[in-house]
């Protein structure tokens, strides 16, 4: 194999699994260390810079970082990254003075944001400090978009959302709430230098052709619309027997909400096997914890009405069969159909984008699915000053992805307004700094805690079910949180090897707890991977390969389960190994 080029920032970036997996590339280990040091404001600000909504995300993030966490490969459970983010948000002081200054002298450019969700707010956050004039349009009465209308307040208290939305709105954004934009053409006449569309994926899937659908309409509700109605207190109750169709996170929120406003026998019914459900495992667990049973492999067959009113649903039993490509077919088992009584049905079968308000003759190209063509890098449409991000761009994702889109779109808008090429993307800022303080002394907490993942406590279920306003999760106590921070393996503190200093004493190889380090004859990668002390079977994880040493061998380190404990550097007599902190801050508009 060729010598690893550690100057390529992607190499070390990829070693920081959590940060790499995060759509916004939040420097996770860095803020966890800040929490560990009791520097909650600093931890919060690192998050705020990167993901804009730390308090919201610390409760509701889809956490792509956690399945990626190296700790999950070393033992059973990853670090509770998401809940640590909440620790930073819960324990911070007043950070208003640390928010960026907004220039009084504007730069003369006007931007319109359509939709007030996380993508739009991120664009605003990034552009306001640069002197832009920003107008925000949303049909709700407050900012936050789906974060407000779709995430029930027992998971995300309104104060938390308001606080973080207001940090941005208070930068001097001109808001136009309860203002539904019905025509992009009209917006285009308003002289904006750029328009950003962040309207989410607002249309729920329905079962329009299912028998009884029209007759039972009064008691059939589309999940996202219903959740919004509950959030805005238009809907205050539901029948005692509720069936929730669908297996995603919206379904989980629907059923838990139903339990709080009158639902006693609330059931989740999914077409597929439970294992294929899209909802996050922890959300499924929380729903089950509230006494909500799940029925798998039940395909809806009919809404059953009596005297023009819904009384139940009929389901066909199926079994999932998979072809060699893993494609699933649901095959009826032939058993008798199942009838379930119900008063109301909530449908959470997925969402789609919808752009009835974008005229098709404006110069914005639409693709075969009748969606606007959006550039994956610049978020620009074929109409150069119109940008799209968040769920509106390519369908439903999550808050953190919307934030990542917002940052990128802001870069593009800024470049566009300056007359620069939007394709020319700025590089992230990186530093690589030795953590050595002295003999056996490092700037980071090198010893590895062997604690198991700490569990966040919930309020008593009976109490929780009495109100929409009682937050179910209590969050980590300070002590739990601090102990959880110590589980982080500090993957950003990189093992850097300088071959010219190495005397091949094998000390590092001998001391490494997880046998990552090898001194071997060089070969092609696939052979090399098999010939290490521990076969490097995880192909997603890179090998750090040195140049040729004096004995003609090379040093090969499998990054897969390195604990970043620093023992290699500790036991190196010549300083050939060093522990250096790699900090990557994603590029932002104007910087």
């Amino acid at each position: 194999m060729k010598e690893t080029d550690i100057k390529d920032i992607n190499y070390f970036h990829k070693v920081v699994d959590c940060q790499y997996a995060c759509p916004a590339h939040t420097p996770v280990p860095e803020y966890i260390r800040m929490i560990s040091a009791g520097r909650f404001d600093d931890a919060y600000m690192i998050n705020w810079e990167s993901n804009v909504f730390p308090g919201v995300l610390g409760r509701t993030c889809d956490r792509p970082c956690e399945p990626a966490c190296r700790r999950g490969r070393v033992e059973d459970q990853p670090v509770a990254i998401c809940r640590l983010k909440r620790v930073a948000a819960d324990h911070k002081g007043d950070i208003k003075h640390r928010l960026p200054d907004i220039p009084k002298q504007k730069n003369g450019k006007k931007i319109a944001l359509i939709g007030g969700g996380p993508a739009s707010l991120t664009v605003a956050r990034d552009l306001m400090p640069l002197g832009y004039h920003v107008d925000l349009f949303d049909d709700q009465y407050k900012g936050g978009g789906f974060m407000r209308s779709q995430i029930p307040s027992f998971r995300l208290p309104e104060e938390v959302l308001d606080e973080e939305v207001n940090y941005i709105l208070d930068m001097g954004i001109r808001t136009h709430f309860k203002h539904k934009v019905n025509s992009l053409k009209e917006m285009l006449t308003k002289d904006y230098d750029a328009i950003f569309i962040g309207t989410g994926a607002p249309r729920a899937r329905d079962l329009p052709k299912l028998e009884g659908r029209a007759e039972a309409d009064a008691n059939i509700h589309l999940g996202i619309d219903w959740l919004a109605n509950v959030a805005f207190e238009h809907t205050k109750e539901i029948g005692e027997k509720v069936l929730v169709l669908g297996g995603g996170n919206t379904a989980m929120d629907c059923c838990r909400t139903a339990r709080r406003i009158g639902g006693k026998d609330v059931r989740i019914v999914v077409r597929s096997p439970q294992a294929d459900m899209k909802a996050s495992p922890w959300e499924i667990k929380d729903a089950q914890g509230e006494g909500i049973p799940m029925f798998e492999n039940h395909t809806p067959k009919a809404f059953v009405c009596e005297k023009g009113k819904l009384v139940g649903m009929l389901f066909e039993l199926v079994t999932a069969e998979y072809d060699e490509n893993g494609r699933r077919t649901l095959v009826p088992t032939g058993e008798a159909d199942i009838f379930m009584e119900c008063d109301d049905v909530l449908m959470a079968l997925g969402q789609m984008n919808a752009f009835p308000w974008i005229e098709r003759d404006l110069g914005i190209e639409f693709n075969d699915w009748d969606m606007p063509e959006v550039d994956k890098t610049t978020f620009q449409t074929s109409l150069a000053h119109v940008f799209v991000g968040g769920d509106a761009a390519w369908g439903p994702e999550n808050v953190i992805t919307a934030v990542a889109h917002g940052h990128q779109a802001a870069i593009s808008i800024d470049k566009y307004c300056r007359g620069q090429d939007t394709k020319d993307r700025p590089n992230p800022g990186t530093t690589l700094i030795s953590q050595k303080m002295g003999f056996h002394d490092w700037l980071y907490n090198a010893p590895v805690s062997s604690d198991k993942r700490h569990v966040v406590e919930h309020v008593d279920t009976n109490l929780a079910l009495t109100s929409m306003k009682i937050e179910v999760e209590k969050g980590f106590s300070l002590e739990q949180g601090l102990n959880e921070t110590l589980r982080c393996l500090n993957c950003d503190v990189q093992t850097v090897f300088e071959k010219d200093r190495c005397i091949e004493c094998d000390a590092c190889e001998d001391v490494c707890p997880t046998n990552c380090i090898n001194f071997v004859e060089n070969e092609e990668e696939d052979l090399l991977r098999q010939h290490l002390k521990m076969p490097a079977d995880n192909l997603d994880q890179a090998l750090l390969v040195s140049g040729e040493l004096k004995t003609k061998r090379v040093m090969v380190k499998d990054e897969n389960v390195c604990l970043h404990c620093g023992l290699c550097a500790e036991r190196c007599p010549t300083g050939a190994w060093d522990m250096r902190k790699f900090l990557l801050n994603e590029a932002k508009a104007g910087r």
Partner: protein, 350 residues
Amino acid sequence: MSYIKSTFRHPSAKVNSLGFAKTAYEGALSTLCAGCGHDSISAAIIQSFFEMNIEPHKIAKISGIGCSSKTPTYFLGKAHGFNSVHGRMPSVSTGANMANKDLQYIGISGDGDTASIGMGQFAHVVRRNLNMIYIVMNNGCYGLTKGQDSATADIGSAGKKGVENQFAAIDLCQLALQLGAGYVARSFSGDKKQLIPLIKGAIEHKGFAFIDVISPCVTFNNVPTSTKGYEYVRDHLDATGTIDFVPERQELKIIHPEGTSKEVKLHDGSKLILKKNTHDYDLSSKREAMGIIETVREQKKILTGLIYLHEDPQDTHKKINSVDKPLNSLSQGEVCPGNAVLDALNEGFR
């Protein structure tokens, strides 16, 4: 302060045939200087006993004084151990072996502990053919007292202070050969590929097994002018042949083309496979072994590998005709059979 070794190990680490993970063979984290050759030898010992499937509590590790003699703390933490008096490891080992011959004895010593203060003890444990492994971690200097030349330092070799050694070096392998050791080998701490099979062979060998391991002192004797520094040793190695240890019953995995290798059978049926090289000689000939050490030395090189192997079934216990049972398992009645027996014995002398 870090310096705590995590308890996490590679998730796909295997257990041996006894069901033990390698951690069962590890010890405390070393407090020797970073880069010390001794740590590599400790690692080789851990690996060897792990792979040989020996229960840790059936091993006794005994050492004298010195950097080398600290190492038993760093390996086989679950084995019996005795850190004895300077140069007296052989006596303590002998005593322990007399009391319980069922344990696997591994003695750890250094060049000072063996070739200076313990020279007399060393000579006698060899000639008694005590059933043990005797490893010398040989760095040619007294590391614990700041690097003075030891008795194994070569003439002309200079450590960190830069003063050339004027006194003749003791070659411990030649000494062991002369005194009748049945298994004599030399290796280098930086060559585990060779050292591990040698230790495994020594574990299987019945009788006295001696391994002299050159183990650079990274602090006081790892300079270009020293003949026991990493660089010099690597540049001057000359092996008797690369070596594989093949346990009993295991098929030969690597097929050596005919005539390119030779097998050395150990008493239990396991084998050492030596790839032949220019030093093709009769391993069981003491005279040839002596000769080859000299020849290689004249070429200013260091002979490593298995140098001599001749199993002598007469270990100390056989020679002194001790009972079959370990002495520590004899009952009071067996050890002290009473007046009647004493009287009969005395009668016999009249």
